[in-house]
Amino acid sequence: MTQPTKKPTKMNRRKALIGLGASTGALAAGGAFPGAERFAHAQSAAPIKIGFQKHATGIGAAYGRWYGATTDAAVKRINENGGINGRPVEIVVEDDATDPGRGAEVLEKFATQHEVDVAFGTLFSHVVIGSAPRAGELKLPYFVVSEGHHVASGMLNRYTLQPCITDVKSQVISMAPFVAENLGKKVTMIYPDFAFGHDHRDFFSEAIEAQGGEVVAKIAIPPTETTFTRYFPNIPRETEVIYHVMVGPAVLTFVKELGEFFGPNRPELFGFIDSLEAVDIQSPGLEFLEGSYFWEGMPRHAQAGDTEAQKAYRAAVGCNERGASVEDPANVSTYAHMFGCWETLNVIKAGMEAADYQGPADRPKLIEAVEAMSAIPASEDHPQGDKLFNGKTHQVFAQQHISKVTDGTLVVEHSTSIEDGMYEDEVDYTTQTF
């Protein structure tokens, strides 16, 4: 999967940056090279194997493809910079068909057949929850990039971590102040009748009330729905803001029909970009979104204030300034989420180097090393921005963005602080035994 094609100019620049100490974790463990152990030599030459649970088929395939592209780019960079503990990184890809049953099987395959060091990369919550029990039983560290609240809720186990993408609870809480202050206090929520939608409903209702607002209607749409107009009359007339988080292939229809329903005078719209990941915001029918607001984990369209690290990341994953593939501008990425793969691989690297990871026996040490992480500063390793990892809940917290669609471009209007999304711990995984 990973065939590093050498591009000397790029490499030199990156190497220089690494030399400046971009990777903090690497410094901590930099000198500790295994000398005394019997198989040290053989081990140090063998690649670190990372199992990538990919949504290559099934409903998550559009995400899977870009998670794959980001993973390849991140691994290429890590290997060009000397790998992990001097060992090259090898990605083992297995398709989970975006299905929790197959996901668990794939995880078993990683642990017992491919004998990978860690597993990583899952997005869809049901696949994470279906696979995590097996990760715990097989004692395989499982790094997910899912944004679900499952990890921090305490439902999973010590072997499952989400170190680089903020969970939905934190995302939603941090949105409420902006919505209440700038868009309106009477909110109608439209969400899929899924656990994911229920999380939005529950967390946002609570958060907006804390801001003095209220949710005036909650419209849960059943899955596999392909037309939506008949549900829109349930939107109360007094609504000031519509909060929408639809997902799946019918999302374009949803937005289009919402536009057709309201015609020229609509309330403010606030949505999660999850709805429109891998979809061009200028697609026909989406004109209605002009002037509406979106949550973004990482801004899809290049912003004026982008850091060097963000520019380098954009180039490395092969995206243009509109977040689409450089080679095929019609192929729009899942930019708001996929940075999580890039950053998670760098956390695995930093964790392994801090723990002086040698092989599967050191897996508990690796988890302890990641649990010990706290502030993760923005860098080339972490282009999305500063983060705060909570070792007890295995969940990271980061800055979130709210972008406004302006002339067909997502322009960041507001960025939250990490503190905006903090909530009380619901679990302490460090008390669990390995």
């Binding site: 398709d95 299905d99 078993e108």
Partner: protein
């Protein structure tokens, strides 16, 4: 009688083989076979209704889900231990099968397919509707602490394999016995010619309903076992896909044979597993294999073997 001893020997031989496999197979395949045995229970339950009674249901996932949620919800909400939770799972699946059977068996043929399909969709939507308890599509975890039986931790690879093995053995032998009994023969009579069975004085409606309930309970046992052994309960197992799987397994292995369901599950599992190792387009490979199989093994694997000389196959 030679004819009846051979099948018994075969059944015991298969169980012995499954026992030996645990000691000789690499770890991954031991795990795979734990899963295969659980799914084979599901396929056997389906086979009783489809293979023996001739009723094609497209909604069996609702019984699998009834067992899965019957087990998972009782352990999570009421704190039942494994045995009572398992019993309530079987009860849930049995009652659902009784209710669905009572209504759906008024129909036959394609109408039966569609009625079961729609009832299963209703069950799926109900699971989503009560998301507060079920967590909808996302599902929930049955924690390790709840998966203990008489001091044995069922989450270890060994305990999992043997639990699956014992459950499978019981179901496998019970099903083999069941289809040999007059009850089973009458079901076959219904499949072959319902009118004739009725004229012979059989209470066809009652027999079908009993077949439906037994089939539902087997499916429920499989669902509960899945939750128990793999620690996950989720709505995707109640979806259409999981209604079509047992049909596919049974047709591939051989409908109306005792060992066909197991063979079908093994075949389909490894077809996907191995071809996904070769290529990303493994569904393409699987599709082509399925088409070829229908062309060259029309009665399923076991059914075709039976036709080609091994006539005694049960």
């Amino acid at each position: 009688m030679m004819a009846s001893r051979k099948p018994l020997a075969l059944h015991l031989g298969i169980l012995a083989l499954l026992l030996v496999l645990f000691f000789v197979l690499p770890a991954y395949h031991v795990g795979a076979f734990s899963r295969i045995m659980v799914l084979a229970i599901y396929a056997m339950g389906y086979n009783l209704l489809f293979g023996y009674t001739g009723l094609l249901s497209l909604g069996h996932a609702m019984f699998f889900a009834a067992g899965m949620y019957g087990f998972g919800l009782t352990t999570n909400l009421t704190g039942f231990s494994v045995i009572p939770a398992f019993a309530s799972a079987m009860l849930a699946a049995g009652l659902l099968a009784l209710g669905v059977g009572y209504l759906a068996l008024r129909t036959a043929g394609v109408a039966f397919m569609i009625v079961t399909l729609m009832f299963a969709q209703t069950v799926y939507l109900i699971i989503l509707y009560f998301g507060t308890y079920t967590r909808g599509d996302e599902g929930f975890v049955v924690q390790q602490a709840q998966r203990q039986l008489a001091g044995i931790d069922l989450t270890t690879e060994t305990a999992r394999y043997f639990t699956a093995f014992i459950l499978f053995s019981v179901c496998f032998l019970a099903m083999a016995k069941l289809v040999q009994m007059p009850f089973g023969k009458r079901l076959i009579a219904i499949r072959e010619n319902e009118e004739r069975a009725r004229m012979l004085g059989y209470d066809v409606a009652n027999l079908k309903l009993r077949a439906m309930v037994i089939s539902g309970v087997f499916s429920g046992v499989a669902g509960a076992s899945y939750a128990l052994l793999f620690g996950y309960v989720g709505a995707s197992f109640a979806g259409v896909q999981y209604s079509i799987f047992p049909l596919l397994w049974v047709l591939l292995g051989g409908a109306g044979t005792t060992i066909g369901p197991l063979i079908g599950v093994i075949f389909m599992f490894y077809l996907i597993d191995i071809s996904s190792g070769w290529t990303n387009a493994y569904m393409l490979v699987a599709g082509i294999v399925l088409v070829l199989l229908t062309l060259f093994a029309p009665q399923g694997i076991v059914g075709t073997l039976r036709k080609r000389g091994v006539a005694w196959l049960p």
